[in-house]
C-alpha cells in the first residue's frame, strides 16, 4: 500500500476512534439515573460496547458510502469491474480480529456479571429478606420482621437489598430500570435476588414479563431513602391499619364505564391489604 | 403442465434420500420428548403418582421382544422380495403386521390396567405422551405395511423398484429403535 494511503487511513481511523469514544461517553446519558452499584457496572460495559460498535458501524458505513458516491459506473460504461475473487490474508484478518474482539467482550461481560452477583448468595440471614409477591396485576411487599405490608418497595440506601421473589399465578418480571436489574419470577419457585441501591430517590418498578390483560398497568414505585427515614417508615407503617391499596388493573376492570369493547379477561386479584397507603400511581 | 416423462434428474434415489431426511427430522421430535422426560424426572422429588410404587414391566417387556423380533421378520420379508419370491415376502410381511398389531394390543391392555391417567401430574402426562406418540407411529407402520401388502398383488408392481417396501421397512426399524430407547427411559431407569 502506498504511504499516502496509509496516512489517509490512519487519519480516518483516528477520527473514527475519537467519534466512537465520544459517543461512548454520551451513552451514559441515555440511561435512567444510576441508582445502584450494578447500574454503574452495566453502564460502563455499555459505554465500551457503544464505542466499539460506533467504530465498526462508521467504518463499514464510511466504506460503503465512499463506494456509492465515488465508484459508480459511468453512464454508458457497461463493462465489468476488476475480476478480484478474494484475498486469503484479508479473510483471515477479518475472521481473527472479530474473534479476538468477541472474546474480549465476553470476558469483560463475565467480569461484570460476577461482580453484580444479583442471584441470591446465601450468606445473609433470611430474616433480612423482603418478600416480594407478584400476582395478576399487583405488587405486594412484605417486611416480615416488622410486620409491614406495602404496595411500594422501600429500601435503605447503600445497604444490600435482599429480596425473595414469588409469583402466585403466571410468570412476572421484577424490573427496576434505575437499578438495571431484572429477574423473571417463576410461579412455584421462590427466587433469591439482591442488589445495592446507592442513590436516594423514587424509581419505577415494572412488570417485565408479559403477564396478561393488565400487564402494562402492573407497576409500582421503589423508594430509596436514608436508613433513618427507612426505619421511621417501617415503624409508622407497622402502626397503621391495613387497607386495600390502589390497584390500576382492579380499578380499570371494575369500572365498566369504559367505551372500549374487548374480549373476556382474567379477573384481577383483589388489591393487597397494605399498611402504607400511597397516593395512587 | 409438468410432464410425467421420467427426466434425467428424477430417480428413486431421490425418494430414498428424501425419506431418510424426513426420518432424521422425525427423530428429533422423539428426542425432544425424551429430553423433556429426562428433565421432568430429574427435577422432581415425587416422580411417580401417589399410590404408584413402580411400573409393571412384564407386559411391556414381552411387547419389546415382539417388536424387536418383528424387525428381523420384516427384514426376512424384504430378502424374499429381493429374491422375487412374492409369497415368501407376503407371508413374512403379514407376520410383521401381526406382531405390530400384537404390540398395539399389548399397549392398550397395559394402558387399561394402569392406575394413573394422562392428567395425573407430570409423570402421567409424560408417560402417555411418549407411549401414545410411539403407538401412533406403530399404527402408522402397520397401516403402511397393509398398503404395501395390497400392492404386492398388483401385477408388475415391483418393475420399477421396491421403494415403498424399503421405506416402510426403514420406518419400522426406526419405530423399533425409538421403542428401545423409550423402554429404557420409562421402564428401566429408576
Amino acid at each position: 500500500m502506498k504511504n499516502s494511503t496509509i496516512v489517509k487511513l490512519s487519519i480516518i481511523a483516528l477520527v473514527l476512534a475519537a467519534i466512537s469514544f465520544w459517543s461512548g461517553q454520551q451513552s451514559y446519558s441515555w440511561f435512567p439515573p444510576q441508582a445502584s452499584l450494578e447500574a454503574k457496572l452495566i453502564d460502563g460495559l455499555f459505554s465500551f460496547l457503544v464505542s466499539l460498535g460506533t467504530f465498526i458501524f462508521l467504518g463499514v458505513l464510511g466504506t460503503l458510502s465512499y463506494s456509492v458516491l465515488f465508484q459508480r459506473a459511468a453512464k454508458y460504461d457497461y463493462s465489468d469491474g476488476p475480476a478480484i475473487e478474494g484475498n486469503n490474508t484479508l479473510e483471515i484478518i477479518w475472521t481473527v480480529i472479530p474473534f479476538i474482539l468477541v472474546v474480549w467482550i465476553a470476558f469483560y461481560s463475565y467480569q461484570v456479571y460476577s461482580q453484580m452477583s444479583i442471584q441470591g448468595s446465601k450468606d445473609h440471614s433470611d430474616s433480612e429478606a423482603i418478600e416480594v409477591y407478584s400476582r395478576q396485576w399487583a405488587w405486594e411487599f412484605r417486611y416480615p420482621k416488622n410486620n409491614v405490608v406495602s404496595s411500594e418497595l422501600h429500601l435503605p440506601v447503600n445497604q444490600r437489598a435482599f429480596l425473595k421473589l414469588q409469583s402466585e399465578d403466571v410468570i412476572h418480571g421484577f424490573y427496576v430500570p434505575a437499578f438495571r436489574v431484572k429477574q423473571d419470577i417463576i410461579p412455584g419457585k421462590t427466587i433469591d435476588f439482591e442488589f445495592t441501591p446507592i442513590l436516594e430517590g423514587k424509581y419505577r418498578l415494572r412488570d417485565s414479563q408479559y403477564s396478561g390483560t393488565y400487564f402494562a398497568a402492573m407497576q409500582s414505585n421503589v423508594i430509596v431513602e436514608s436508613p433513618e427515614e427507612y426505619q421511621r417508615w417501617l415503624a409508622s407503617s407497622a402502626k397503621a391499619k391495613r387497607t386495600p391499596s390502589y390497584n390500576q388493573a382492579y380499578q380499570e376492570f371494575n369500572n365498566k364505564k369504559s367505551k372500549l369493547r374487548g374480549w373476556r379477561s382474567i379477573k384481577p386479584a383483589e388489591p393487597p391489604l397494605v399498611n402504607n397507603l400511597s397516593p395512587g400511581e | 403442465m409438468s410432464s410425467n416423462v421420467l427426466h434425467e434428474q428424477e430417480n428413486p434415489g431421490n425418494s430414498k434420500f428424501g425419506f431418510i431426511v424426513f426420518l432424521l427430522s422425525e427423530s428429533i421430535i422423539f428426542l425432544s420428548f425424551f429430553v423433556g422426560y429426562i428433565v421432568y424426572k430429574t427435577n422432581s422429588q415425587d416422580w411417580l403418582p401417589l399410590g404408584v410404587t413402580e411400573l409393571d414391566t412384564k407386559g411391556p417387556f414381552i411387547n419389546t421382544l415382539v417388536l424387536i423380533s418383528s424387525s428381523f421378520v420384516i427384514y426376512i420379508a424384504e430378502r424374499y422380495l429381493h429374491a422375487k419370491n412374492l409369497w415368501g415376502f407376503r407371508i413374512f410381511w403379514l407376520l410383521t403386521m401381526l406382531m405390530g398389531i400384537f404390540f398395539l394390543y399389548g399397549q392398550a391392555v397395559e394402558w387399561q390396567g394402569l392406575p394413573f391417567s394422562f392428567t395425573d401430574g407430570v409423570f402421567g402426562g409424560a408417560f402417555y405422551l411418549l407411549t401414545g406418540f410411539h403407538g401412533l407411529h406403530v399404527l402408522t407402520g402397520v397401516l403402511l405395511q397393509s398398503i404395501m401388502l395390497q400392492r404386492s398383488f398388483v401385477a408388475g408392481n415391483y418393475d420399477k423398484g421396491e421403494y415403498g417396501v424399503w421405506a416402510t421397512s426403514i420406518f419400522w426399524h426406526f419405530v423399533d429403535v425409538i421403542w428401545v430407547i423409550l423402554y429404557l427411559l420409562i421402564y428401566m431407569w429408576k
Binding site: F31, V60, E85, G86, R206 | S2, G18, S32, A126
Partner: protein
C-alpha cells in the same frame, strides 16, 4: 434428448395461480403473493399497535384487543409472511439456479404450499371465536397462554397452536424437498462449490428447519394437551415446568431467525456482484460461513432466557456461543463490502434495497452483540431495545432484502420490466420509514420501557410518537410497491432474458422461463460470479432453449 414441447407460461392465465399446480415456478409465485397479502394484514395490526402507542394511556382499543394485536402481528408476520415468502423465493429460484427442471418432489411441494392458506384461514378465524384470538404474545409462554377466561375448549389460543403445527408440517415438507433437490438435482458440472450462494443459504436454512422445528412441535403438542385436556406439562400450579416450554420454544425459534436471514444473505450475495460488476469476494468463505452459522445456531437459544430462571453457568455458556456466531456473520458482511469496493456501481432499485438492508443489518448485528453481553441484556431484556433490534433485522434487513430480490428477479419471473422511478420512491419511503419507526425503540428500551405494553409512563411519549409516525410512513410505503407490481406485470415493457447482464443459470433462459425451465440441462463449467473474467458459465449455451424470438 427428450421430446418435451417446451411452452412459455402465459402470465395472463391467472387461473393457474389458484390451482393445484406442481410447477415450482407457479408454486413460488403462489407463496409470494399469498404471503404478501398476510404481510399487509400483519402490517394493519401493527398500525393499531402504533396507533395505541401514540399516547401513554390505553385509550384506542381495549387492553385485550391490544394484546391480541401484538400477538397476532408477530405470529402472522413470522408464520404467514416471512417463512412463506422466503420459501416462495427459494422455490422459484433454486431449481433454476442449479439447472434443474423442477423440485425433487413436485406434488409434495404443492401440498406444502396449500397448507399455508389453510393455516392462514385458521389464524384469521381465531379472531371470531369467543374470547378472541391468542393474546399471550407470539411466544405463547405458559402459564399465561394456559389461562382461559371463557372456559371454552376451542379458544383462539388452541387455534393458534393448531395453525402453528400446520405451519411446521408445511415447512418440514418444504425442507425435505429443498435438501433433496439441492443434494441430488444439480446440473452436470455443478459441484457444491459452483453453486450460487443463494442455494447454499437455502440449504443451510432448510437444514435448520429440519432439526429445529420438531422441538417446537414437541413443545406445541404438550402445550395443546395442557390447554385442552388438562395435563400438567407446563402448568406450575400442577407441578409442571413453564421454563421447559421456553427451552422447547427457543430451541427452534432462535435458529428460526437464521432460517429467515440466511436466504436474505443469499440474496445480497447474488445482488451485489451484479450491480457492482465484480465477483463475490471470498465466495468459498461466504458459502462455508452459511453452514457454520447453521451449526452454531443450534447452541445459542438460551440468550432469549437470560432473565428467566436460568442458572449463572448457563447464562455464561450461551453468552459465549452467541458472541461467537457473530464471527461467521461478520465474514459475510466484510465480503459484501469488499465485493462492492472498487466496482462499477449501478444504483438500481434492487441495489438500493440491498444496500439499505445491509446497513440496517450492520446496525442490528452490532446491537445484537451488545445483547449477547448478559449484564446489559438483563437491563434491556423484554424492553423496546429488543423490539428495535429484531425489527432492524426482520424489517430492515429481511423485508428490504426481500424487496431487493423481488425487484431483481421480477423481469425473470413475469417477463416484464418494473417501473424504476416507482421503485426508487418505494425505497426512499421504506428506508426513512424503517429507521424512523425502529430507531427510537432503542432509547426507549435503555430508558426502561417494557415491550408488549398497551400503556406507558408519560416520560416515554416523545420516542413513541416518532416511532408511530414512522410506522404510518411504512404503511404508505407499500403503495408504490403494490402499484408497481400490478402495473408492471400487466403493462410493463417486455423483459429480455438478461436485463441486468447478470451471470447465472437463470439468466440464460427466457423471461419468464419455459415450463420445464431448460430445453437441455446445462453443463456447468465454471464457478459463479465470473464478472470481469472470461470463463463461460456453461458449455452448451446454444442448446439451453429453443429460441422463440
Amino acid at each position: 434428448m427428450t421430446n418435451i414441447t417446451n411452452v412459455a407460461i402465459e402470465p395472463a392465465n391467472w387461473r393457474r395461480y389458484f390451482s393445484f399446480s406442481t410447477d415450482h415456478k407457479v408454486i413460488g409465485i403462489q407463496y409470494i403473493v399469498t404471503s404478501f397479502f398476510f404481510f399487509l394484514v400483519g402490517g394493519l395490526l401493527a398500525m393499531v399497535v402504533r396507533g395505541e402507542l401514540i399516547t401513554p394511556e390505553s385509550d384506542l382499543v381495549d387492553r385485550t384487543v391490544y394484546n391480541a394485536m401484538f400477538t397476532m402481528h408477530g405470529t402472522i408476520m413470522l408464520f404467514l409472511w416471512t417463512f412463506p415468502v422466503l420459501a416462495g423465493l427459494a422455490n422459484y429460484l433454486v431449481p433454476l439456479m442449479i439447472g434443474a427442471r423442477d423440485m425433487a418432489f413436485p406434488r409434495l411441494n404443492a401440498v406444502a404450499f396449500w397448507l399455508v392458506p389453510l393455516l392462514g384461514t385458521i389464524m384469521m378465524l381465531s379472531f371470531l371465536v369467543p374470547g378472541g384470538p391468542a393474546q399471550a404474545g407470539w411466544w405463547s409462554y405458559p402459564p399465561v397462554s394456559l389461562q382461559n377466561p371463557t372456559g371454552n375448549l376451542i379458544t383462539g389460543q388452541v387455534l393458534w397452536v393448531l395453525a402453528v403445527a400446520i405451519s411446521g408440517v408445511s415447512s418440514i415438507m418444504g425442507a425435505v424437498n429443498f435438501v433433496t433437490t439441492i443434494f441430488r438435482m444439480r446440473a452436470p458440472g455443478m459441484t457444491f462449490f459452483r453453486m450460487p450462494v443463494f442455494v447454499w443459504t437455502v440449504l443451510a436454512a432448510q437444514i435448520i428447519q429440519l432439526f429445529g422445528l420438531p422441538a417446537l412441535t414437541a413443545g406445541a403438542v404438550m402445550l395443546l394437551f395442557d390447554l385442552t385436556v388438562g395435563t400438567s406439562f407446563f402448568d406450575s400450579a400442577k407441578g409442571g415446568d413453564p421454563v421447559l416450554f421456553q427451552h422447547f420454544f427457543w430451541f427452534y425459534s432462535h435458529p428460526a431467525v437464521y432460517v429467515i436471514i440466511l436466504p436474505v444473505f443469499g440474496v445480497f450475495s447474488e445482488i451485489f456482484p451484479v450491480y457492482a460488476r465484480k465477483p463475490l469476494f471470498g465466495y468459498k468463505f461466504v458459502a462455508v460461513s452459511s453452514i457454520i452459522i447453521t451449526i452454531l445456531s443450534a447452541f445459542v437459544w438460551v440468550h432469549h432466557m437470560f432473565a428467566s430462571g436460568t442458572p449463572p453457568w448457563m447464562r455464561m455458556v450461551f453468552m459465549a456461543s452467541t458472541m461467537l456466531i457473530s464471527v461467521p456473520t461478520g465474514v459475510k458482511v466484510f465480503a459484501w463490502v469488499a465485493t462492492i469496493w472498487g466496482g462499477k456501481l449501478r444504483l438500481n432499485t434492487p441495489m438500493l434495497f440491498a444496500l439499505g438492508a445491509l446497513v440496517m443489518f450492520l446496525f442490528a448485528g452490532i446491537t445484537g452483540i451488545m445483547l449477547a453481553a448478559v449484564p446489559f441484556d438483563i437491563h434491556v431484556n423484554n424492553t423496546y431495545f429488543i423490539v428495535g433490534h429484531f425489527h432492524y433485522v426482520v424489517y430492515g434487513a429481511a423485508v428490504l432484502g426481500i424487496y431487493a430480490a423481488l425487484y431483481h428477479w421480477f423481469p425473470k419471473i413475469t417477463g416484464h420490466m418494473y417501473y424504476e422511478g416507482l421503485g426508487k420512491l418505494h425505497f426512499i419511503l421504506t428506508f426513512i420509514g424503517t429507521n424512523l419507526t425502529f430507531f427510537p425503540m432503542h432509547p426507549l428500551g435503555l430508558e426502561g420501557m417494557p415491550r408488549r405494553v398497551a400503556s406507558y409512563d408519560p416520560e416515554f411519549t416523545f420516542w413513541n410518537v416518532l416511532a408511530s409516525i414512522g410506522a404510518f410512513l411504512l404503511g404508505v410505503s407499500t403503495v408504490p410497491f403494490i402499484l408497481n407490481m400490478i402495473g408492471s406485470w400487466s403493462q410493463g415493457e417486455k423483459a429480455p432474458k438478461n436485463p441486468w447482464r447478470a451471470i447465472g443459470l437463470e439468466w440464460l433462459i427466457s423471461s419468464p422461463p419455459m415450463i420445464e425451465n431448460f430445453e437441455e440441462l446445462p453443463i456447468v463449467t465454471s464457478e459463479p460470479y465470473g464478472y470481469g473474467g472470461d470463463h463461460a458459465l456453461v458449455a452448451n449455451l446454444e442448446h439451453l432453449e429453443i429460441d422463440h424470438e
